[in-house]
Amino acid sequence: MAKEEEVRPNGTPDDDQVESDAKDPSGFLSEIIGAPVTVKLNSGIIYKGDLQSVDGYMNIALERCREISDGRLVRNWGDAFVRGNNVTYICADSA
């Protein structure tokens, strides 16, 4: 009997997998790379900028990074790196 070339994990129809992937965290992140985002930290600080990249720790690289407090611009940081452990959420502004 011929050995099966491809062993697929049980019960994962391909189409469903692709569709659900677009909506889970990694799919969402790849969708919003380059887009304007709002990042809120556990401390309550809000950063707005263009999402340059994210990794599995939720470390974030932001371009045009602005710090916002009470809806007012506090400071312009330019390119910034935010360590992932501080992040509460990443919000896609355009969605």
Partner: protein
């Protein structure tokens, strides 16, 4: 809704994908929105989110990735308004006791 079967916690969350949920953080902050997806760390993608903060007040967010790190509890179908009657009464009684 069917009676609760034997369901693993993550399977419960999986059943909530596509529906409204209420997420309560360690910090007391709350998020109410439609669950689009989640991963093994229970990081969540939420849509049309209301952010509830006892100090800063509420906010609306179109679509977010919520860090699972500080998530405390998730209530399927929760609207952020449901409060157990007993809890409220209790706190009122406590207040009354303090005043008295």
């Amino acid at each position: 809704m069917a009676p609760l079967e034997n369901l693993l916690p993550l399977e419960l969350i999986d059943k909530c994908v596509g529906s409204q949920i209420w997420v309560i953080m360690d910090t007391g902050k709350e998020f109410i929105g439609k669950l689009l997806g989640f991963d093994d760390y229970v990081n969540m993608v939420l849509e049309d989110v209301t952010e509830v903060d006892p100090i800063e007040g509420n906010g609306q967010l179109p679509k977010i990735l919520l860090n699972g790190n500080k998530i405390c509890m998730m209530v399927p179908g929760g609207d952020g308004k449901t409060v157990m009657d007993g809890e409220e009464d209790e706190s009122e009684n406590e207040d009354a006791a303090m005043v008295g």
